[in-house]
C-alpha cells in the first residue's frame, strides 16, 4: 500500500515537474514580449551617461576599431561604447534584420554601401541631421560626395565612416624589371601594351599574371562599376533603367573578357589581394580599405595609382557608413552621435584611416598635421585622397536593388570565367535586375521619394 502511494506520488511529482518545466520555459518569453517595444530603455550602465551597443567590423579591421574605441573611452567618460562583432557586411545585415524582428537591434550599426538603403526602405534608420548637429558634426566638413550619398529627401540617414574607392595597385619591382615606368597606366590601351612584358608563363600556365580580376564573392561588380563608366557605359540610370545593353556597356564587358581570353594577360583570382601580395600578379584593382594590410604584408615596393581611363575617367566610392536604428532612445541616439563625431574626426577618424587605408571622410581630418606627416611616410595612401574628388556614387542597380551586386557580379563571372557571349549574359542580368527593382520602385513611391 505504502509502495503504491509512493509511486503515485512519484508520478504526480513528474507531472508537476513537467508543468513546472513548461512554466519555466514560458517565463523568459513573457517579459521579453512585454518589454520588447522599449529594448533600449534600460538605464545606462558602468557609471557613464549612456552606454551604446555598436555592431562594427570583424577581423583585422575590427581590431583596429577596438583600439579606436579604447582611445575613445580614454578620451571621455560620458559615452561607453559596447562594440560587438557580427561578421562581414552581409552577416551584419542579416543579423540586423533578424535582430530588428526580435527587437534586440543595436543602437548603432555599420552598414555597407549596398545595405544601408534596404534598412532605410524598411524605415528603421533614424534621420540624423539634428543629432549630428547636436554632437558637433558639421556636414560641410565632410567630403561632399560621400556625405550626400547618405541623404534621402533632405535627411541624413547614413554617415560616411569607412569609405573607400578602388585603386590601381602595382608591383613596383616587377614594373621596374619589365622596364616600365613607376606609375599606373593612363589608359587601358597603355596597360595592354605593358601587360605582355609583365606576364610570365611556364608553357601554357600563367606563373605571374599582369592583372588579376576578383570574383563575385569579392564584389567584382564594385570594381567593374568604375570600368563600365570608363568605357562610357553604366549599370543603370538613377531611376532604375538598366543600361547594360547599351553599346558602351557591352564594350566594357567584352574588354574584361578579352583580357583573359583574347589578350591572355589577366586571370580571375580566388583572392586577388592574396595573389598581389604573394607576387602572383603584377597589378590589380582593389579597395583602398586593404591598403595598410597590403603595405604591411607585401615583400616588394607597392605602387598605387588612379584607375586607368578609356573614353573617360570612372571610379565609384564604396565602403561603409554608420546609422542609428529607430528603436534607440533619444539619450542613446545622442550618445551614438557623439561617438560618430569621434570616429570620423581628427583623432578617432585619423587613427582609423591611417591604420586601415580607408579614406579620411572629413576635410579637417585629411588636412590635420598628423595626416600630412602620414602622407609623407606612406605616399601610396595619398592616391586615394587625390582620386576622391573625381569619384562618384555608384549606379542604383548595384546599390539599391536587393541582391543587385551579386546579380551583376555573377553575370560578370559568366562573361569572364564562363566566356559566354556578353550580350546574352547582360540580357539575362537586365531581366533579373528589372524584376528585383520592382519592389524598390514601389517602396520609393510609398516613401514619397
Amino acid at each position: 500500500m505504502n509502495k503504491k502511494v509512493s509511486r503515485r506520488d512519484l508520478l504526480k511529482g513528474i507531472g508537476f515537474g513537467i508543468g513546472a518545466a513548461a512554466l519555466a520555459a514560458c517565463t523568459p518569453a513573457a517579459p521579453a514580449a512585454t518589454s520588447a517595444p522599449q529594448p533600449t530603455s534600460a538605464p545606462a550602465a558602468g557609471g557613464s551617461d549612456a552606454a551604446i551597443t555598436y555592431w562594427g567590423f570583424n577581423g583585422t579591421l575590427g581590431k583596429t576599431e577596438d583600439d579606436m574605441v579604447t582611445m575613445y573611452h580614454a578620451a571621455q567618460s560620458a559615452v561607453k561604447v559596447d562594440r560587438q562583432v557580427q561578421g562581414s557586411y552581409e552577416e551584419t545585415a542579416q543579423k540586423l534584420t533578424a535582430a530588428l524582428a526580435a527587437k534586440t537591434a543595436p543602437d548603432l550599426a555599420l552598414l555597407s554601401d549596398v545595405w544601408w538603403f534596404k534598412f532605410y526602405r524598411a524605415k528603421v534608420l533614424m534621420p540624423l541631421n539634428d543629432l549630428a548637429a547636436g554632437a558637433g558634426i558639421d556636414g560641410s566638413d565632410f567630403v561632399p560626395s560621400l556625405w550626400s550619398e547618405g541623404v534621402r529627401k533632405g535627411a541624413q540617414y547614413w554617415i560616411p565612416f569607412a569609405r573607400s574607392t578602388p585603386l590601381f595597385y602595382y608591383n613596383v619591382d616587377m614594373f621596374q624589371a619589365a622596364g616600365l615606368p613607376d606609375r599606373g597606366p593612363k589608359t587601358w590601351a597603355e596597360f595592354d601594351e605593358w601587360a605582355p612584358k609583365l606576364l610570365k608563363k611556364d608553357g601554357a600556365t600563367i606563373k605571374t599574371a599582369a592583372f588579376a580580376h576578383t570574383g563575385a564573392a569579392s564584389y567584382n561588380a564594385w570594381i567593374f562599376q568604375g570600368v563600365i563608366w570608363q568605357f562610357g557605359g553604366e549599370y543603370s540610370t538613377p531611376d532604375f533603367k538598366i543600361e547594360l545593353l547599351a553599346p558602351d556597356s557591352i564594350r566594357s564587358a567584352q574588354f574584361y573578357q578579352d583580357t583573359v581570353d583574347k589578350f591572355g594577360w589577366a586571370v580571375t583570382a580566388k583572392d586577388a589581394q592574396k595573389d598581389f601580395i604573394t607576387g602572383l600578379t603584377a597589378a590589380t584593382i582593389l579597395s583602398t580599405g586593404g591598403l595598410t594590410g597590403i603595405l604591411k604584408d607585401a615583400a616588394f615596393k607597392v605602387g598605387t595609382a588612379f584607375l586607368p581611363e578609356e573614353k573617360q575617367f570612372g571610379c565609384p566610392t564604396g565602403g561603409a557608413g554608420l546609422s542609428i536604428l529607430t528603436g534607440t532612445s533619444t539619450e542613446k541616439a545622442q550618445a551614438a552621435a557623439k561617438f560618430i563625431a569621434y570616429a570620423t574626426g581628427k583623432e578617432g577618424g585619423a587613427f582609423w584611416s591611417q591604420n586601415t587605408g580607408y579614406m579620411p571622410v572629413r576635410k579637417s581630418t585629411a588636412n590635420s598635421d598628423s595626416y600630412i606627416k602620414y602622407f609623407q611616410t606612406y605616399p601610396q595612401t595619398k592616391t586615394a585622397v587625390d582620386q576622391l574628388p573625381k569619384t562618384r556614387p555608384q549606379d542604383a542597380a548595384r546599390v539599391f536593388i536587393p541582391g543587385g551586386d551579386q546579380i551583376i557580379g555573377k553575370g560578370l563571372e559568366r562573361i569572364i570565367t564562363g566566356k559566354e557571349n556578353v550580350a546574352t549574359v547582360w540580357k539575362d542580368v537586365t531581366a533579373q535586375l528589372d524584376k528585383e527593382a520592382e519592389p524598390v520602385k514601389k517602396d520609393l513611391i510609398a516613401l514619397g521619394a
Partner: protein
C-alpha cells in the same frame, strides 16, 4: 471472494486510475520530445509553407499574399534547372563515393593490420572537425600555384586545374572535400557492421567451399545491408543539406557551378531577403527529402536483412 457492488466500482475506479497513470507515463516520456519537435520542426515547417505564398523582406511589417507567384518565380528562374541539377550531381557523387570508399576502408581496417587503430583514428578525425575549418584548409590545398595538390602534380609534369575558379572543376573540388570529411564516419559505421556479422557464418561458408568473393557476396554484403541502408539514408539527407563547405569555399560559384538548393535558399533568403522564394526552396527540399525517405523505406528496406 464474492464481488460486491462496492468492489466492482472500486475496480473500475482502479482501472481509470491505471489508464490515467499510463497516460501520465506516456506524457512524461514522449511529451518533451513531441513538444521539441512541435516547436522546432513542425511549427517552422508550417510557417515556411505560409511564407512561401508571401512576399516579405523580413523587416517590413507587411507581408503580401502573392499566391503561387514565388513558385512561378523560382521555377522560371533561368538558373534554377542548373541549381537543381547541381544538387542531384553533388548528392549522387558524394554519396556514392562515401559509400564505396567507406566500404573499402571498412573492409581494410577490419583486418588485423599493424597500426590499424591509428589508421582508423586518422580516417575518422576529419569528421569531428568543423566544416568551415576544413573548407579554409582545402582552399589552400587546391590553390593551383602553391597548393599541396600543385606540389604533388607539378613534379609529375601535370598542370593543376584552377579548382575553385574554373566552373568545370569547382564541383569535383567540393565533392572531394565532402567525401574527405564524411569518409571516416562511413568507415567506422561499416566496421561496426562488419564486426556484428557472426564469425560462424564465415566458417560455415568456408566449409561449404565458398571462396573469398562468394563469402563477401553472400555473407558480408547481406550482413552489412542494415548498415548500408542507414548510411544511404543519412548521407543523402546530409549531403542535401551540405552548406558550410560550399559557403566558405565557393559561395555557389563560379557562375553557379556549385550552387545547390540549400545554398540557393540562403542566397534568396539572406542575401536577397526574398523570404517567400527562399520558402519555396525550403518546400522543394522538404518534398525531395520526403520522397527519398519514402522510396527508401518502401524499396530498400525490403532488401535489408536484419539478421
Amino acid at each position: 471472494m464474492q464481488l460486491t457492488k462496492h468492489d466492482f466500482s472500486a475496480s473500475i475506479a482502479g482501472r481509470i486510475r491505471r489508464d490515467w497513470r499510463e497516460w501520465l507515463i506516456f506524457l512524461a516520456f514522449a511529451g518533451p520530445n513531441v513538444a521539441l519537435f512541435a516547436i522546432f520542426t513542425y511549427a517552422p515547417m508550417v510557417n515556411n509553407l505560409i511564407l512561401s505564398f508571401n512576399d516579405w523582406n523580413m523587416i517590413s511589417s507587411d507581408k503580401a499574399w502573392v499566391g503561387l507567384q514565388n513558385y512561378i518565380d523560382v521555377f522560371t528562374d533561368s538558373q534554377f534547372s542548373r541549381i537543381f541539377l547541381n544538387t542531384i550531381v553533388f548528392t549522387a557523387a558524394s554519396v556514392t563515393l562515401v559509400l564505396a570508399l567507406g566500404l573499402g576502408g571498412g573492409l581494410l581496417l577490419n583486418q588485423k593490420l599493424r597500426g590499424r587503430n591509428a589508421a582508423r583514428s586518422i580516417l575518422f578525425s576529419p569528421h569531428i572537425l568543423s566544416g568551415a575549418a576544413i573548407a579554409i584548409v582545402w582552399i589552400y590545398i587546391f590553390d593551383p600555384r602553391f597548393g599541396l595538390i600543385y606540389a604533388v602534380l607539378h613534379p609529375l609534369g601535370i598542370q593543376s586545374p584552377n579548382w575553385l575558379t574554373d566552373p568545370n572543376w569547382s564541383m569535383p573540388a567540393i565533392v572531394i572535400v565532402y567525401v574527405w570529411k564524411y569518409l571516416g564516419y562511413a568507415t567506422v559505421i561499416y566496421i561496426a557492421g562488419l564486426q556484428a556479422i557472426p564469425g560462424d557464418l564465415y566458417e560455415a561458408a568456408r566449409v561449404d567451399g565458398a571462396g573469398a568473393w562468394m563469402r563477401f557476396r553472400h555473407v558480408t554484403l547481406p550482413g552489412l545491408s542494415p548498415v548500408m541502408f542507414f548510411l544511404v539514408l543519412t548521407s543523402i539527407l546530409s549531403s542535401f543539406q551540405s552548406f558550410d563547405i560550399i559557403n566558405i569555399m565557393t559561395k555557389g560559384g563560379p557562375i553557379n557551378s556549385t550552387n545547390t538548393l540549400i545554398y540557393h535558399l540562403y542566397e534568396l533568403g539572406f542575401i536577397n531577403f526574398s523570404i517567400g522564394r527562399a520558402g519555396v526552396i525550403g518546400m522543394i527540399l522538404f518534398v525531395l527529402m520526403f520522397v527519398v525517405t519514402l522510396l527508401q523505406l518502401r524499396y530498400l528496406d525490403r532488401q535489408v536483412n536484419y539478421a
